[in-house]
Symmetry: C3
Amino acid sequence: MTKKASSSYSLAELASLLNATLAGDGECRVSGLSTLTEAGPNDIAFLANKAYAKYLATTQAAAVLLHPDYVDECPVSALVLDNPYLGYARLSHCFDPLRRDDAVTMIHASAVVHESAVLGERVFIGPHAVIEAGVQLGNGVHIGANCFVGADSALGDKSYLHAGVVIYHGVVIGERAILHSGAVIGGDGFGFAHDGQGWHKIAQLGGVVLGNDVEVGSCTSIDRGALGDTVIGHDVKIDSQVQIAHNVHIGDHSALAGCVGVAGSTRVGQHCLLGGGVGLAGHIDIADRVQVTGMSLVTNSITDAGVYSSGTGSMPNAQWRRNAVRFKQLDELSRRVRALERSQN
Amino acid sequence: MTKKASSSYSLAELASLLNATLAGDGECRVSGLSTLTEAGPNDIAFLANKAYAKYLATTQAAAVLLHPDYVDECPVSALVLDNPYLGYARLSHCFDPLRRDDAVTMIHASAVVHESAVLGERVFIGPHAVIEAGVQLGNGVHIGANCFVGADSALGDKSYLHAGVVIYHGVVIGERAILHSGAVIGGDGFGFAHDGQGWHKIAQLGGVVLGNDVEVGSCTSIDRGALGDTVIGHDVKIDSQVQIAHNVHIGDHSALAGCVGVAGSTRVGQHCLLGGGVGLAGHIDIADRVQVTGMSLVTNSITDAGVYSSGTGSMPNAQWRRNAVRFKQLDELSRRVRALERSQN
Amino acid sequence: MTKKASSSYSLAELASLLNATLAGDGECRVSGLSTLTEAGPNDIAFLANKAYAKYLATTQAAAVLLHPDYVDECPVSALVLDNPYLGYARLSHCFDPLRRDDAVTMIHASAVVHESAVLGERVFIGPHAVIEAGVQLGNGVHIGANCFVGADSALGDKSYLHAGVVIYHGVVIGERAILHSGAVIGGDGFGFAHDGQGWHKIAQLGGVVLGNDVEVGSCTSIDRGALGDTVIGHDVKIDSQVQIAHNVHIGDHSALAGCVGVAGSTRVGQHCLLGGGVGLAGHIDIADRVQVTGMSLVTNSITDAGVYSSGTGSMPNAQWRRNAVRFKQLDELSRRVRALERSQN
């Protein structure tokens, strides 16, 4: 990691960066980003959720990023824009100590880069990284320490691999991808034929294709396809500890929270949101703009946009035990109610 | 990775390899394997599921692997055998660019191999791999880049570690094992004694034993035993993101899908199938040939073969909310029905 | 790994180590630790669970660690103490082949340690490990092979990283931490702002702080905070395959079993126990001494100590299907029962 030379900015600079209206002293400089309650006199804060508006009056921040509705209440300088949360997102990168725009190519002496690999400009390859034959790295690609990139894989411009990422052979990753440590892209899908006695492995001959602007969390695995590819669309955001099985397709702009598992050949539409721990069975189709709440299991295709859930709420164990026992008798209970209804008529 | 010198085969070659009956031109050569719909004139395809039989008539494949029932309908050359899916599995390896039979021992200069390690013939040790004291590697073992094999561990002939696998000390792995990147074998089991205030670690003194023909998916962890070993039988197939706790025993030929978790000291029989995300509580026994459907939780031993499930189906969230609330009152509802029944008599 | 010079102890030594009362021959030496049933004449065994008391009479162990209640029944030498399980925990470390007290600093020639890193005494840094600028390693810290420690991170005295652990920049880890292979500490939290069309990454500017005596299992990920830190208290034990999201706080002495997922900004109290596969929704508070049973989902704050559960028990699939269908009609069923009750009065 290399530190930014400076991370102090004038409010005028930030206003123009965010295309925000400045209400206050443009010369005032800030060197940190924080919340309304924790910000100090050198920090800029933000108000993106009305639940926190009550903290605006007493904030110690030098300036606050906020919506026009709150500018009058703001006791300090303000950067005013319609989507303060988006503004916060953009602003956050100004204070990120990880610089992702190295000026020149730097390949650590201990890295092992095959002579046939094709490197763009301003590529960083960290200590002990291994780049196999035929790999293509675009401009500004960052390969962290101890990463492995298998033969004939390709990473688009400005893709960033943190330390210890593994990319198998024949994987294609788009531009501006961010892959976190422990992520494994292109391991074999889980495919076996049974001969009546035991298993015979099916070689996984497909690859994995990640679109542009994909982020993959720590310790997440995306398996290669059996014949065709596993495909992750553009702007798909995948959290940590997620498992994507072979030949899955995830549509553009979808987001998968931690511990999600998607079984083989399932297709997820665009703009879908899968909550933490959600499981999707194999060979099903999920429509665009479907949201599945945390730890739900979906075993059939979903054809309409909307929010879907499964499971039971949590409750004290003693209460749960009584109800869970009744669940096992639920069909019988239903029949008894039907009998009572019949007996009335 | 090293590419196969050639991956073009004559149908006669493949027929003899698969012990299949050839109907068509034995001289015809194929260089790829694909599906009926995606295959081109240089590919061989397969028909292993009657749902796809409709695509047989229009396939562009040079040849099709199929069951005798379909040979008359096949518009192109056919390789005929009773289990086409098994044939596909065998055939797939002909087209795998990863060659797993290196002719000579190759140890990368950057690998750190302890002088006391015992290496068989035709061993491959990749860049930055670390092999500790007393390790034994059988013939044809492949240790990928950045792998770690701890002291006194042993890998059987033709075992294959992809890049970045970690094997702790004192682990025994059988022949032809395939371990995918990010897999960790032999980390400490989760064992602590409580003294009323806090936790005291219990050193995990057991090991891990994997049988022959075991496959372990990406980012899967198998913990070492507390005293005895954690034991994975022969031909057990474990998918990605699976957690096997200390002293678990998994019977031969069982298959565990992604995100499964098996708690400590549980024993799973032979030929079991655990669906994705299944959880098995600790200290229970699962009989042979038990199948558990996805994301089910099993908290008691299962003594009979069969299919088991838990949970609720998924549904639109609004519907689910109403039903989930009622679940919390299910015991009361049941009592009310009983009261109604009593009042009738 | 380095083997202990000797792992043979006299019963007198062990009695004094455990502050136990010796009943038998203090000169007798033992070289192993095992269970009552598996122990041989050179082993010491333990009786910590009355269910195993029946094996005491026939044990082949040289000595048994047990509670005063059982000393009369013990056919061999005994080490007598009130908490034999705690005694077993302490004793176990005598037989651990991994020595964690290297006498001198050892840095492997292949390790890449930045000149600005500050190392304590008796530090071990294994092959191919990477230590970035500004890192501080306390006395007796062990950095396994292929580990990565990012810029400005700090590890307390006697912290132990097994092979292949990744610590991002700006992470603070206390004393005596144990991190298992594949663990990733400090990856980005899952934070994005939506602009109506797609996602904009929010730089994760916070860090991760682990207290003293924390253990983290294999392939577990703990994400860095968005602005403030993700905080893991003292003596917190985290199993394998766990996901801790950004800005989560876990209270002292809590234990999280395998495959647990804790969503962003949730606070877990002290002395909590989360069973395997438990999911906690984001932005909720869990009181001290709360226990959640395996694979339960908690979506609301829990204010009272106690045991909580969700889900349904598992059952044969045919039975489950009938009941699961009825679950979808549960609200309607409840209304029908109410109607029957009304019609009675």
